[in-house]
């Protein structure tokens, strides 16, 4: 029933009486939202798709965009219908999952139920702000209130739910996505749903149930209203005020009230770590990576470019056992006993990770390759942006032998490690050392000229599951790529097949994501006025230097006096 799903939420026959879950996303990393949600559901054996038990249904006023999912099935992503204003059809922060009435994943208030779809999503999805049980929706508040009333009066599931919750304490919140309405105006909105007839007491603080009346409007790319109701001076802009909402929803929050949804993310923020480096991955992105990589209790996660361990720390927070390697001993060792990777883990009471100094370009020579061990490989490979890559070996073809008496504390030579080889080796290590079904998640930066189809590295044993794009500027961006091991690794094909077929368009593709820093500088030089700006900066630096010199001399003079 993929394309027949219309904006009417439910049909009164048994098939149409489905449970609808309204999900609200935070307005960031838009391209990651569905991938993260799908991965988290997948981890619990819930697959998402038009022909699956759990499917996405259309929001009111939706333009459907079909996206292919992991199993080659399609899901719809909703964008705002172009309202003729030429406005960007930005993605909406809401999504509705529909489950059959009999599904075991529906939250049913039964204490024996350990897991339901709402708690699964809330526990893991970094980008989900709120999960609600949808009672009704429509293109106006009136329509939405009618739909909600219809559901609780004429549908088995609605009747059951209402009889259970209507006598409990409650409050009603009006959510207008950043548009400001006075208390009186909100009161008018509330009055539309007042006839639903809750018999329980109203309780503003920690009620058992919080109902939310959502008035959805169009948002711009930063998540603010596209047609603000008020001017910056605080005056109502009447033409914007007259715009109807795109959709209205009436829903009951699940797993606690809206205010409880901060979920203590701040404590994991990079700012609170004792040991950091220039390329530490921010906590939110690495948390998304752990979801895409299916990290959970009892699994083993590996990061071949562990650095300060920021990605592994997120894996450990999900309960995975962590192993990390790096070629640089100084970063593994840290600055001191209380400023190293171990101290970051200790801070959150996590078991310490296994750290090994080894070189990912010859991973198979450091580790035995029989019986693959890793369930997930999660990393941010070195692209020479903030840290250039090195690998073992000398630049010379015939390096001088190390005298045996000096071997003990000899410092091994390293040579530059081109990005095309970094990626080919990474995919090969993943294909060889992941368990079947295990996942590789990595980050790759690039300019706009990068093409998902032919520029991303490939491996016969790995399949691309998700590609999420995060714009970092008009031209620059980075992708988070998720791959899954689908075939057994055959050592005899390593040199002849795997390593040579990494790049569909040849290793030049890798050049597109290497040395981005240099490219940013190059681009800056092409901009008009670069020369004059450069001159100003030069003079400023000179002046600063001079001022410092004078201050230093004055201090010295004072001292001698």
């Amino acid at each position: 029933m993929s394309d027949q799903t219309d904006t009417t939420p439910r049909q009164p026959d048994s098939n149409g009486d489905r449970y609808h879950l309204l999900i609200e996303f935070a307005h960031k990393h838009l391209d990651f939202q569905i991938a993260e949600l799908e991965s988290v559901l997948d981890m619990h054996g819930i697959s998402l798709g038009d022909d699956e038990e759990c499917r996405i249904i259309a929001l009111p006023n939706a333009n459907k965009t079909k996206l292919k999912t992991r199993h080659g099935k399609t899901v719809q992503v909703h964008r705002v219908k172009d309202s003729g204003s030429g406005a960007v059809t930005s993605r909406r922060p809401f999504l509705i999952l529909s489950l059959p009435r009999t599904s075991k994943w529906i939250p049913n208030n039964d204490e024996t139920q350990t897991n339901n779809i709402a708690s699964i999503i809330l526990e893991r999805c970094t980008l989900v702000r709120n999960v609600m049980e949808l009672w009704g929706m429509g293109t106006s508040i009136e329509e939405c209130a009618m739909a909600a009333k219809d559901w609780i009066q004429n549908y088995t599931l609605g009747k059951l739910t209402f009889s259970r919750v209507s006598s409990e304490s409650w409050k009603l919140t009006v959510h207008t996505l950043g548009a400001k309405y006075t208390y009186e105006e909100q009161g008018v909105m509330r009055s539309h749903v007042s006839h639903l007839g809750f018999s329980g007491p109203v309780q503003m603080k920690d009620p058992t149930n919080e109902y939310v009346l959502i008035h959805e409007i169009e948002l711009n790319e930063t998540g603010s209203p596209l047609y603000p109701r008020h001017s910056p001076e605080g005056k109502i802009i009447s033409e914007n005020d007259a715009r109807p909402p795109i959709a209205c929803y009436f829903a009951r929050t699940l797993c606690g009230t809206r205010q409880h949804k901060g979920r203590g993310k701040e404590q994991y923020s990079l700012k609170n770590r004792t040991y950091l480096g220039p390329t530490s991955m921010d906590a939110e992105l690495s948390s998304i990576m752990t979801n895409l990589g299916h990290c959970k209790e009892g699994t083993i996660a590996f990061d071949p470019f562990v650095g300060t361990g920021s990605i592994l720390l997120s894996c450990a927070l999900r309960g995975a056992f962590c192993i990390g390697t790096d070629i640089d001993f100084r970063i593994l060792k840290g600055r001191s006993k209380d400023e190293n990777i171990e101290s970051n883990f200790r801070q959150f009471n996590l078991p310490k990770p296994e750290l090994i100094r080894s070189d990912n370009s010859i991973h198979h020579r450091h580790f035995r390759t029989t019986s693959p061990m890793y369930d997930a490989i999660i990393c941010d490979p070195p692209y020479g942006i903030r840290a250039g890559a090195r690998k073992s070996g000398s630049r010379l073809t015939n390096p001088k032998p190390v005298p045996e008496d000096q071997r003990h504390d000899h410092i091994a030579q390293t040579r530059p490690y081109p990005v095309s080889d970094v990626m080919a080796d990474l995919l090969d290590v993943a294909a060889r050392n992941l368990v079947l079904g295990g996942r590789l998640v990595y980050i790759i930066p690039s300019y706009a000229d990068f093409d998902d189809e032919c520029d991303l590295p490939r491996h016969e044993c790995l399949r691309i599951v998700h590609i999420c794009y995060q714009p970092l500027g008009s031209e620059l961006g980075r992708r988070m790529v998720t791959m899954e091991k689908i075939g057994e690794y055959d050592v005899s094909k390593r040199e002849t097949h795997y390593l040579v077929s990494t790049w569909v368009n040849g290793p030049e593709s890798a050049e597109k994501c290497a040395n981005i820093r240099e490219k940013i500088l190059e681009n800056a030089k092409l901009k008009p006025g670069y020369e004059s700006k450069l001159e100003i900066r030069k003079q400023k630096r000179k002046a600063n230097k001079e001022a410092k010199r004078i201050a230093k001399r004055a201090a010295a003079d004072n001292f001698t006096d």
Binding site: R368, D375, L396
Partner: protein, 125 residues
């Protein structure tokens, strides 16, 4: 370095015939008791080279009196005591300092602050 990691490490300098399992020459060994994660142990157990575990335990025994005696082959059904013993051996014993020795070439790989240094020198690649 836990014994789980030791179970996967090998030496492969140029010309090595069989660089596995590595011998352990411990200097300091620490015990850090952690709650038994049965799921993790059952995940890793079928992937282990059990003979290498036994060898490592014997090499550490002089430095660590609390090491349990493990059966010479793993039984089909694991009782709770054996699960606890295996978990302890693989996840709670940390070799902090010492070195790993290649059985074929006797090349030594130092372990410092619990981190084995497996990097090969330029003439060993």
């Amino acid at each position: 370095m836990r014994l789980l990691t030791h179970n996967y490490l090998q030496s492969n300098v140029k010309g090595t015939e069989e660089g596995y399992p590595l011998g352990i020459v411990p200097e300091t060994v620490e015990i850090d008791k952690s709650p038994v994660d049965r799921e993790l142990l059952l995940n890793i157990l079928p992937k282990l080279n059990y003979d290498a575990v036994l060898q490592a335990v014997e090499q550490l025994r002089p430095h660590c009196e609390t090491l349990p005696n493990l059966p010479s082959t793993l039984p089909e059904d694991l009782d709770d005591e054996l699960v606890n013993d295996l978990y302890f051996v693989l996840f709670d014993v940390h070799v902090k300092n010492g070195c790993l020795v290649c059985p074929s070439t006797q090349r030594k790989f130092p372990i410092r602050d619990g981190i084995p240094n497996m990097i090969l020198h330029e003439d060993e690649i």
